[in-house]
Amino acid sequence: MNGQGLGFPLFPPRASVLADRVDTLFFFLLALTGLVTLIVATLVIVFAVRYRRRPGRAIAPSQTAGSTLLELAWTIVPGLLFVVPFVWGARLYVDAAVPPPNALTITAIGKQWMWKFQHQGGQREIDSLHVPLGRPVRLLLTSEDVIHSLYIPAFRMKQDVLPGRYTTVWFQADRTGDFHLFCSEFCGTAHSRMGGQVTVMQPEAYERWLALGASESLASRGSKLFQQLGCNTCHRGDSLQRAPGLVGLYGRPVQLTDGRIVTADEDYLRESIVEPASKIVLGWQPIMPTFKGRVTDDELLQLVAYIRSLEPPAPEPFAPEGQPLFPAERRQGR
């Protein structure tokens, strides 16, 4: 199957929960389309040979115009058959779009031509990504320049990375080892060199690896930045505040002045920092200045991580149970 005997692979390694499910769908499609192709090819060859023109028979003896019954059959039957791969593929896609609440978040910035990853504990890596086995990992992705796309074939996972916006993707690795990591959206000269390796490690090994590179956590850096930029003078969280409070904001619905309700996800937080006037929270004045150009993409991610980490004092029914607070989780890890 995987072409071991040939000396080169015919099938990619599988290293995530999703990969098995995608491959099953792939084989289903392969069987379905293979069968239909085989039938068509056989009929074409058999008909062409069997009914080849013979001397004395210039035209075909039967000049049928067609058959409405047959036409309806081969219109409706494929139509019904197609429901299966559509629903199947859609289910997997939606599952792959929504990470479980306990997923570990790792940030990734694509830039010409490298991938910069940062773990919540502040550990940085370039063109390589270490992840634990058996634990959902959510990647928060953005780009500093053009569109890139993070592609890990062994996980059957791919997500475009856009400038000025956060996208996310998640996976749960189920096999240890090193796997290819590519950029799959053309991004300029060294596009084909923009990649590296994903290393899936046993959880204990992963913790040891994290400890080696540990530095200040993202949220803690974000907290300092929050003070330095003076955000806390308005977002104070007390009766004197001139801006909405941020504690427990993450993941909650927000009512805007123009009537829309949006969810305070990471992309909303990012936009509210760089383009504050575009979404004004109901009951507040549009007085916040833009921080576009005043914070780097890295710093933006730190600020977002900090706001994310601001948990409300009492557990909200909204916040899924066991949601890791990253600083706390780091302590557990050691």
Partner: protein
């Protein structure tokens, strides 16, 4: 585009109708209609378009094919707008980022 000639009286009435609609849309824009603001403005623009197409462009007296062509333009514009907005308007429905 048939031989039918559109009389001056018809043209004049269409002209006055168009002016009236322009005045209407300008005045209504000053009234706060909330979410109905855009639909009303577009409905008036559509009415004006209909007047121009049917009378000035003689669609009313032309073979059905030309009307079909005009309708095709509207339909395809709707496909372009609808398909693109299907993305933007539903981005908050199911957040890929989850929670």
């Amino acid at each position: 585009m048939a031989d039918r000639v559109s009389p001056t009286r018809t043209n004049l009435m269409v002209f006055i109708g168009l002016l009236a609609l322009t005045l209407a849309t300008t005045l209504i824009a000053r009234v706060d209609l909330g979410v109905w603001h855009l639909p009303v403005a577009l409905a008036i623009a559509a009415a004006k378009t209909l007047l121009i197409a049917l009378y000035f462009m003689h669609l009313r007296w032309s073979p059905g094919l030309l009307g079909l062509v005009a309708l095709g333009a509207v339909l395809w514009l709707a496909i372009l707008l609808g398909g693109s907005m299907d993305d933007y308007a539903t981005r908050i429905w199911l957040l890929p980022s989850g929670r």
